[in-house]
């Protein structure tokens, strides 16, 4: 890679190399990984002129500083955070040219939790099982299967100055939406007590569950008043496969929403699965957010997914000369 890349000066709290994830490995017990907020990730690569699967960074909560050893172009999307290049504040949701020796600083995220940073051509990192997605629990992907560390070097292919692209504010995904998470009832939800399901979907505003600080890319935990009739769930379930979005109901009566680093097999009863676009939104919500669930059909869920991707594909970013 002849030495072009970023030196990590401050790695931030939890910064991960990601692409769209490691597909087709569930039978080895490997999860997919990939960006928690896929839409913001897609936009970061798009604003850099990259392919969708290109390796980019997911920076949780910000606090990162890097130095470019060569010319390149970057784009930053996702959570709102102060960004500066060589000490000069710049906007997010657009691309920027970086000169040789430029220093990029990303402050602490204020709205949203996850920031995405793409580099022109994508970070040049050898894949493991066809993906560079970092899953720290599995010690796979990224540079050494871990979050970024101080002193890490992230190679890129140098790029000269070119036109920059931006996404206008009204077209960006919202970072703190209070809209309910849409859940497709499924698995063996038919066997669950009716009062439990009613409580899950139609709880009154003053009793809503909230996001626990104990949440991560593996799963989002909820806290608050346990679901009604949780002790009436039929006992002894065989472990079965789980997917991103699956809502598990442990005996505590506090649901866990499995996310992009979910384990492949789990034994808790399940009530349904959060739709993909709402999982991306969930990834940006701060701890303490009130969570409301609402049921949705598979057909509507698929429609929303298609529409969201179609919107992404048909939206033309602004050109900045």
């Amino acid at each position: 890679m002849n030495g072009s890349g970023f030196y990590v000066i401050r790695p931030g709290m939890h910064s991960l190399i990601q692409d769209l994830g490691r597909q087709g490995c569930y039978r080895l017990g490997l999860t997919t990984g990939g960006p928690a907020d896929k839409l913001s990730f897609l936009w970061a690569n798009r604003l850099c002129g990259n392919r969708a699967h290109s390796a980019a960074l997911e920076i949780t909560f910000g606090g990162m500083e890097m130095e470019a050893t060569d010319e390149t172009r970057i784009a930053i999307t996702g959570a709102q955070a102060p960004i500066s290049i060589d000490g000069k504040p710049v906007d997010n949701w657009r691309s920027h040219h970086l000169g040789k020796g430029s220093r990029l600083t990303i402050g602490t995220a204020s709205r949203g939790a996850r920031i995405y940073l793409a580099v022109s051509g994508g970070f040049q990192i050898p894949p493991t099982l066809a993906s560079v997605a970092t899953v720290t629990r599995e010690a796979i992907g990224g540079l050494k299967g871990t979050a970024l560390n101080k002193g890490d070097f992230l190679p890129f292919i140098p790029t000269g100055k070119d036109r920059d692209f931006a996404l206008p504010p009204q077209l960006r995904p919202t970072m703190d939406s209070a809209a309910p998470l849409r859940v497709i009832p499924g698995w063996r939800a038919a066997d669950l007590p009716r009062a439990l399901k009613r409580d899950f979907f139609y709880r009154s505003d003053d009793r809503l569950l909230s996001l626990s600080a104990d949440s991560n890319r593996m799963g989002y935990r909820l806290s608050g008043e346990p679901l009604a009739d949780i002790d009436r769930i039929p006992a002894a379930m065989l472990s079965e496969g789980i997917v991103a979005g699956t809502v598990q109901l442990p005996a505590s009566g506090l649901p866990i929403i499995m996310h992009c680093d979910h384990q492949t097999i789990g034994g808790y009863p399940k009530i349904g699965t959060v739709i993909s676009t709402d999982l991306w939104r969930l990834a940006q919500l701060p701890a303490g957010s009130r969570i409301r669930f609402t049921p949705i059909t598979v057909a509507n869920a698929q429609h929303i997914h298609r529409q969201t991707l179609r919107m992404f594909e048909s939206t033309v970013p602004w050109i900045i000369d």
Binding site: L28, L30, A139, S239, E240, V243, T246, Q263, A301
Partner: protein, 225 residues
């Protein structure tokens, strides 16, 4: 056989409610059929004890059509016993040194350590599922006389290769991880390696036999204490 929705791009098929070789045989046979007949619609499959999660290409097929195809293809498979998987021998150094709960398991059942080793290594185990962690194979069923509940407080770090029992399941920890199973020995065979092909020595439906080895052989086979 029952098919349910698992996600906007996933279905789950249930074949039964219990752990037994017949149900597993149906799961395995269904996996083979789905892979050969419906490959163009598949993203991935997660087989487990009595179910298969099917993640499909939602742009290629509607869930109702996929359900119909699954019923069609799997309807005739109800009675055909699946061909057996391969037989894999895994060496184990059983000792207090390599299996700190060996005495606890013996005491729990009022038998001696030798009896635990004898019973554990004189059974054939089926690989029922792979999951939890890369390469973690759920093996069953353990002799009822050895069934031991999980530890009330899980260990923060179980060493790689640890051979463990939880209720009537047994497994080899493929990498160091937290874990609540009872440790009775150590296996030197790598259970998961990205550099190997295949990455795992076992797959669902295989038969595993544990072969007791001495400390010397354990070390010679690459084991570490």
């Amino acid at each position: 056989m029952k098919i349910a929705v698992a996600a906007e791009n996933a279905l789950v098929i249930y074949f039964g409610e219990t752990i037994n070789p017949d149900t597993l045989a149906r799961v395995r046979q269904a996996v083979t059929i789905i892979e050969s007949e419906l490959e163009e619609y598949l993203v991935d499959l997660i087989p487990s004890y009595a179910s298969i999660v099917i993640i499909y290409r939602e742009e290629k097929i509607r869930p109702a059509a996929l359900r119909r195809l699954l019923r069609e293809h799997l309807a005739n498979s109800e009675t055909v016993p699946s061909n057996s998987g391969k037989r894999v021998e895994l060496p184990v150094y059983y000792s207090i040194e390599s299996g700190p709960d060996l005495q606890l398991v013996a005491d729990y059942h009022g038998i001696d350590v030798e009896e635990v080793i004898h019973r554990h290594s004189n059974s054939e185990y089926l690989v029922y599922a792979i999951g939890f962690a890369p390469g973690f194979a759920y093996l069953g069923e353990v002799d009822a006389a050895l069934a031991t509940p999980r530890r009330s407080t899980p260990r923060l770090r179980v060493p790689q290769g640890s051979v463990a029992i939880a209720d009537r399941q047994t497994a080899v920890y493929p990498s160091p991880s937290p874990g609540g199973w009872n440790l009775i020995g150590r296996c030197p065979t790598p259970m998961f390696s990205l550099q190997s092909s295949p990455q795992m020595p076992v797959s669902v439906g295989d038969t595993v036999v544990f072969v007791p080895v001495s400390k010397k052989d354990f070390i010679r086979l690459g084991g570490e204490l």
